[in-house]
């Protein structure tokens, strides 16, 4: 039987760190609510530092012990109790999110700061508390080992993400937020329906126990289909992506970075968890091919529509639609490798790297677009002259982020696409490699258009509308560098993502 996620009956050393990873951001939310305005910002920044330390400590525990970190809440073992569990996949996502949120926090100090003598406003207060709420919910998605807890975590993520969209308060952003919320609710109710069916059939919601109990039958197929479609609506995979571009492009730059870089990764991670660890023996190769076909359509449509955008932020948002497509190419590749009795690590690591490099690159690009908007007073791509003179560091960051999206070495995007392409060739699914190459070409077209326009000299007598603080530019550049140098992860001696995941038997095998 596939049994990749057996939960040990004890809390492992360092298990308490998982509780802290979830609890600390939410304590920060509550403290921010009590202290208000300036206090919320201070609390948020302190929590960002503490959370990063916790994430590093969890990673350290995981690598040292070489096994998944587990915490049993109240000492009750599943199915009676609820377990928190962090394997290699979860820990890498925890770390990546902590780094990206840290970068966004530093950047947002300027946009959502409240200098002394200025009246406290509502938007900064809401931003800082919701930033922590997004973070806590994401951490809960990564470490939770129970389908219902995951449902609550996904809903929390939605409730924290939707107000970030409408932070500006204009009718158009409110409309985007409402559209996003309706898509997300549609997704979560389908997910819940699937979870209920699974409970009815197998009497447990624990991921590890379910993985051991599920077998191919109509109720499991129905549950898997409902949950997958629900998660796709939340992840904005083509053709359920319609809510994403207006929502991500209309939000303030720092909020766009959170939404585009991080929030959509929560539901994607859960889809990976379900397909790779729970429904191993249930999903078939054709169904995985269908997912990847949607991903391929997303890559082509997203990139082509991005090329036609007149505004920088919408271009970046459509590029997110395309990059989400890459995230779903890993499913048939992992299934193919497993079916051939090979280690599926290449496909899984490729997908994971793609998620992380996109999170860092896209956050950097959205924040770079925000700086461009502040400097020029607009973000029309045709009119970007002078950006290179005014914001050299930001333009470099944008180009590095773009290079990672294209997949130039040594970026994280390069390594991710290399792993995926080699998995595609190993499993004789060359058409996915073709899609990735065409996608890379289209991506390079719009990145080069923006960079070339921005390199044009400014007209005579042009002055920036506003100057931006240096540390904002440094934060953007640091995130872009993270993404660009992520390809060096190939030098990492341990296969961190594989820790805690046993080699999974092939799809369709008993």
């Amino acid at each position: 039987m596939p049994h990749s996620l057996s939960t040990p009956d004890v809390t492992t050393p360092g298990g308490l760190l998982l509780v802290l990873a979830v609890l600390v951001p939410f304590v920060g939310v509550l403290a921010g609510m009590v202290l208000g305005g300036r206090g919320a910002r201070r609390v948020a920044l302190a929590t960002l530092a503490a959370g990063l330390a916790i994430a590093i400590a969890i990673a350290d525990t995981l690598v040292r012990s070489g096994a998944a970190v587990v915490y049993l809440l109240g000492g009750w073992t599943p199915p009676l109790g609820v377990a928190l569990r962090a394997d290699g996949l979860a820990v890498i996502m925890l770390l990546a999110v902590a780094v990206v949120i840290g970068g966004i926090g530093v950047y947002a100090r300027a946009d959502f700061g409240t200098p002394p003598g200025v009246r406290e406003a509502r938007a900064p207060f809401v931003f800082w508390t919701l930033l922590l709420a997004v973070w806590g919910s994401l951490n809960l998605v990564f470490v939770s080992g129970d389908l219902f807890t995951l449902y609550v975590a996904l809903e929390l993520l939605t409730f924290a993400g939707v107000p970030l969209v409408s932070l500006g308060g204009q009718p158009e952003t409110l409309r985007s937020a409402l559209r996003y919320l309706l898509y997300a609710l549609f997704g979560s109710v389908l997910y819940l329906l699937g979870a209920v069916l699974l409970y009815g059939a197998y009497g447990t919601l624990d991921i590890g126990l379910l993985a051991a109990r599920v077998h191919p039958e109509p109720v499991t197929w129905a549950a898997a289909a409902l949950m997958t479609v629900g998660l796709l609506a939340k992840t904005a995979l083509f053709p359920l992506h319609l809510w994403l571009p207006p929502a991500h492009a209309g939000a303030p730059a720092a909020a766009s970075a959170v939404l585009s870089g991080l929030v959509i990764k929560g539901s994607w991670f859960l889809a990976v968890r379900l397909w790779l660890d729970v429904f191993v023996g249930v999903v078939t190769l054709p169904s995985a091919q269908t997912l990847a076909a949607l991903g391929a359509a997303a890559i082509l449509v997203g990139n082509i529509v991005a090329l036609r955008q007149a505004r920088l932020k919408l271009l970046i948002a459509y590029s997110t639609v395309a990059q989400i497509g890459y995230l779903f190419l890993m499913f048939p590749l992992a299934a193919g490798l497993a079916a051939a009795q090979l280690d599926d690590a290449a496909a899984v690591n490729g997908g994971l790297l793609q998620a992380i490099s996109h999170a860092t690159a896209k956050a950097a690009m959205f924040m770079a677009a925000g700086l461009v908007y502040t400097t020029l007073g607009h973000d029309r791509i045709a009119d970007l002259r002078g950006v290179a003179r005014a914001l050299p560091m930001t333009l470099v960051a944008f180009a590095l982020g773009g290079a990672s999206l294209i997949g130039l070495p040594p970026s994280g995007g390069f390594l991710a696409k290399w792993l995926l392409v080699s998995a595609a060739i190993t499993t004789a699914q060359w058409w996915w490699a073709l899609v990735m190459l065409v996608g890379g070409l289209l991506t390079s077209a719009y990145v080069f258009i923006v960079v070339v326009r921005a390199l044009a000299p400014a007209p005579e007598g042009w002055t920036p509308k506003a100057s931006v603080p240096c540390y904002q530019q440094v934060a953007v550049l640091a995130l872009a560098l993270c993404s660009f140098l992520l390809g060096l992860a190939v030098l990492c001696p341990v296969d961190v993502a594989g820790i805690g995941r046993a080699v999974v038997p092939g799809i369709g095998s008993p």
Partner: protein, 109 residues
């Protein structure tokens, strides 16, 4: 037909009607109501499953009932958030429509 099956079929009907409404209706408020219909269907199904899974001498499986209450609270908060957004949209725009009239004009950066 025993009682849990009857309730299960009612749940299926609710989910179906709700899904139809959520997809077909253009007005946000009706979409929110449709979401609540689907939610009620799911909760009813969960209740039926609890009844079916009852052990000897017990009226029902307690785990789904505990989860149900959490689910209802979550659905309630979702509805409250959605209605608050609709009200705010009405205050700002004077009408409530989801028509994507001007997605090309992001008002802020």
């Amino acid at each position: 037909m025993n009682t849990p099956t009857l309730f299960g079929l009612c749940a299926v009907a609710l989910v179906g009607v709700g899904l139809y409404g959520l997809i077909v209706n253009p007005q946000p408020l009706r979409k929110i109501l449709a979401f609540n219909l689907i939610g009620s269907g799911v909760f009813l199904l969960f209740g039926a499953i609890a009844r079916r899974g009852a052990a000897v001498g017990m009226g029902g499986d307690p785990v789904p009932q505990a989860l149900l209450i959490t689910g209802i609270v979550v659905a309630f908060s979702a509805t409250a958030l959605a209605v608050a957004l609709v009200l705010r949209l009405f205050d700002e725009a004077g009408s409530v429509t989801l028509a994507p009239d001007a997605p090309a004009e992001p008002p802020d950066a």
